[in-house]
Symmetry: C2
Subunit: 231 residues, 2 copies
DNA sequence: CGGGAGCTTGAGGAGGATCAAATCATGTGG
DNA sequence: CCACATGATTTGATCCTCCTCAAGCTCCCG
């Protein structure tokens, strides 16, 4: 199971959050010292090892999570038993936003790379609600945008285009390298089979559009990728 | 262009909204008489004929819209010039929610069936913000859910399965009939070509899984559709 | 060293794309 | 009222992409 380590006193949450390295990215970006003093519940740090679930669909949704490090997939299951990844969450993204309006989680949230996240009990959100309004709206907006990006870029066009677009989406343009994940997950994200995903990644390697410097860590030829994405 | 007809005095908005037939579905569901009295901007009724745009991507986002009748598509454009429908909005859904957090619209919103909607200026939302908090969150939540539904049901599996799932999503199970739209749009929604969309709809008609009682108006054999959706 | 999981590759076939043409529906002007 | 132009839908023929089933391969760990 995921490792929950939290400070024992409420005010520790304050100290931790205030000095958070990604303060401007998170839900609490707008809060003041006075706001933090109203938090009477622990904000836990959770670490989810690769492959472990942060939560499962149908579980009671007691908390919202802010991703500080790593990569998380949100997946859902189909009538025919297949599964589909509907979103990828990375630094600054929020998982389980539905906790603020629904009783249960709607996805399986599973770490593709070891994830460090903050667990924020739903009551904290409820209590700070007016102060968080703007940031909550921003987070929802991001969730919608990510999902539409996924449809537009990763579920449209040929399998080759989708793989190229995935390499472009996985890291900002100025990033040196870019970390990929298992071919089965690539398939579930792009709506293609594991074999096709493998074939195409291998092909891009052979054509040195990307090169694997270490297992699942790639350098990219951006202009070549962009050409494929738009062809 | 879309037809904007609005009451001239602010309080008319109140009267209209208060007696709205879908009051419990809309953004203003929680508001009281006192809240309405704070609205000093007109809530217009807009009618968008089939094929016309409610807004275009990049346009300054000055308003949010509640759909009262009809069907709206949200579409986005790809690097290669193709387009993809990322969401369908119908009664009670909200279009242009991004107006509350961004400067411009992110989609083209186009009527698939003649749409009647309420145009709510962004300042109204801003002003009533705390009172609308819960409903805004609900609307965002719906937007995310719709988008994930689209990915999971309409962009996964064989073209045949997708068409069947579309017929199931287009109207509630107890609806007598179900209205479809042009094959080109069906294609853009399911991520397949116009020809394939046409072929499969025609095939379902021949197999009397659906029947076209009048142009683009269908009755459905639900169990047959469900069987195809899950096969 | 052997076993397992994930990745790669191969051969074959099915499903969907593409290009092209025929049919149907709609509206317009003669 | 009919002839015709226009656009959407349907259908056909062909090709190519991607899926399926299957077998090797690599790497890691016991």
């Amino acid at each position: 199971m995921a490792n929950h380590e939290h400070g024992d006193a409420p005010w520790q949450a304050f100290k931790q959050c205030e000095s958070c390295g990604i303060r401007d990215l998170v839900l609490f970006a707008d809060l003041t010292e006075a706001d933090f003093s109203q938090i009477h519940l622990p904000i836990d740090n959770v670490v989810i090892p690769q492959g472990e679930a942060l939560y499962q669909p149908g579980q009671p949704a007691h908390a919202v999570f802010t991703v500080r490090e790593g990569l998380l997939k949100l997946e859902q299951y189909l009538p025919d038993g297949n599964r589909r990844i509907v979103s990828l969450l990375s630094q600054g993204d929020t998982a389980g936003l539905e906790a603020t309006v629904a009783d249960t989680y709607e996805h399986a949230a599973i770490a593709l790379q070891t994830v460090k996240a903050c667990r924020i009990p739903r009551e904290v959100i409820t209590r700070l609600s007016p102060r968080l309004h703007r940031q909550l709206m921003n987070k929802w907006h991001n969730a919608v945008r990510k999902s539409h990006d996924c449809l537009r870029e990763l579920s449209t066009g040929s399998a080759r285009q989708r793989v190229a677009r995935l390499f472009l989406l996985l890291a900002p343009d100025d990033a040196e390298v870019c970390r990929l994940f298992g071919r089965e997950d690539v398939g579930a994200l792009l709506g293609i089979t594991t074999e096709t995903a493998s074939r195409l990644v291998a092909e891009l390697k052979r054509q040195s559009v990307v090169s694997e410097v270490s297992p699942n860590l790639f350098t990219r030829n951006l202009s070549a990728l962009e050409a494929i994405a738009a062809e």
